[in-house]
Symmetry: C2
Subunit: 235 residues, 2 copies
């Protein structure tokens, strides 16, 4: 069985959410069941790019992680696209036997048994601005699949007031899940320089919204990698 | 008994370390036993400013926290200066009874019994570039005082290669403490605009140093508040 892999890169730091700042190698799966309007990873989503995705065995994926990390265990983040389309259980088994830790980020549209083996599962339901609609039954099945996962958190990207209100309603529904809010990034062209001031202004907007609203449950974080590298790939 | 308070402000987000992104009201204590060369909070450190520090009872401090947070519990961060010069136990007791959580940041030069009542203690030993010298016996006494504290972490600011090597040696000595590294900020004048690109470049420098070194234990994080607000006070 082979995995479709858009890219494997690192070590760099995790730029978002619960593990922000953590040295990480990223395994980016190719293929997605969503097509968010503002997707920042179309190279791993749009099936027009599928010929650029490598077909790799679990052993080949983990070998590449080992090479990049110099054989020293660290956190591996499985992202995408939606990695839950594929079976990452063999990669996780190989890696954990060698002391590596595994995080996975998915929108929560497909539940997989291997969620339970993860150290961290980030469920990132997509807000209205994405143009996608969340299937909450599928989302709940992801939570059930992740019951033995060490840490399950929710991350919501917010582009506008409608997204914000949606995030509040979603947070109320899943009050037990630690929540991370992240301002949306509409500048996703890797060939254009990032407007750094605009990026920090979006963070400021979200901080002011949350604090004015006295909503103290979520953490509000930027995409650090975007602040440091813009929209460059492979970092 | 009164407390010397340089400022109380928020809610904003915690900009650094383990609680990065967390909505927080800051209580900044006046007075410090250190005088770091690059101190970014001289208004709370230099005793020449002592006439600007309010003398407040614990009740007055907590009342102000309540007013700012609209009476809704959140995380209160006690910083300074070195807050461990003073007795914050009564503030913590009052606040925790109302559902507030307490974090404290100190260099670890003075141990206080109230460390044990905190939800989070951030020990931030100062590297060589500070011009200060760590008393490790005092630092170890802080760890002993914090034994019943929910979360104890270490944060080290890094300005140069010498600080970096010192951080590695310190991390080896306290391998059980979760570690957060933070690039130093030499631009601390609140009246000058921050060079945002220079700030993210310092983060990049530290990320590249840690990953090239295959040192995967620490998280590497910026001062988010500096990226968002520059060196402005009260945010």
């Amino acid at each position: 069985m082979t995995l479709r892999i858009a890219e494997i890169f690192g070590p760099t730091i995790q730029g978002e959410g619960a593990l922000i700042g953590e040295p990480t190698v990223f395994v980016r799966a190719g293929g997605c069941d969503y097509r968010c309007s503002w997707c920042d990873s179309l190279h791993a989503v749009d099936s027009a790019n599928r010929h650029d995705w490598a077909k790799m065995s679990a052993e080949e994926v983990f070998d590449q992680v080992c090479t990049l990390s110099g054989g020293k265990p660290l956190t591996v983040s499985i992202s995408g696209g939606n990695p839950a389309i594929q079976d990452f259980a063999p990669v996780i088994t190989l890696g954990q036997a060698a002391g590596y830790r595994f995080a996975c980020e998915t929108q929560g549209s497909i539940a997989k048994p291997w969620f339970g083996a993860l150290d961290t599962l980030v469920l990132s339901p997509k807000p209205p601005s994405s143009g996608e609609k969340v299937d909450w039954e599928a989302f709940d099945n992801c939570l059930i699949a992740a019951q033995s996962c060490e840490q399950v958190v929710m991350k919501i990207v917010i582009f506008d007031d409608i997204d914000y209100d949606w995030a509040k309603a979603t947070a109320a529904r899943y009050a037990d899940l630690p929540l991370y809010l992240q301002p949306g990034n509409a500048e996703v062209d890797p060939d254009l320089p990032l407007d750094l001031q605009a990026a920090t202004d979006r963070l400021l907007w979200l901080i002011e919204k949350v604090t004015a609203d006295q909503w103290y449950a979520p953490r509000v974080l930027p995409q650090l990698h975007v602040l440091v590298w813009g929209n460059k790939r492979g970092v």
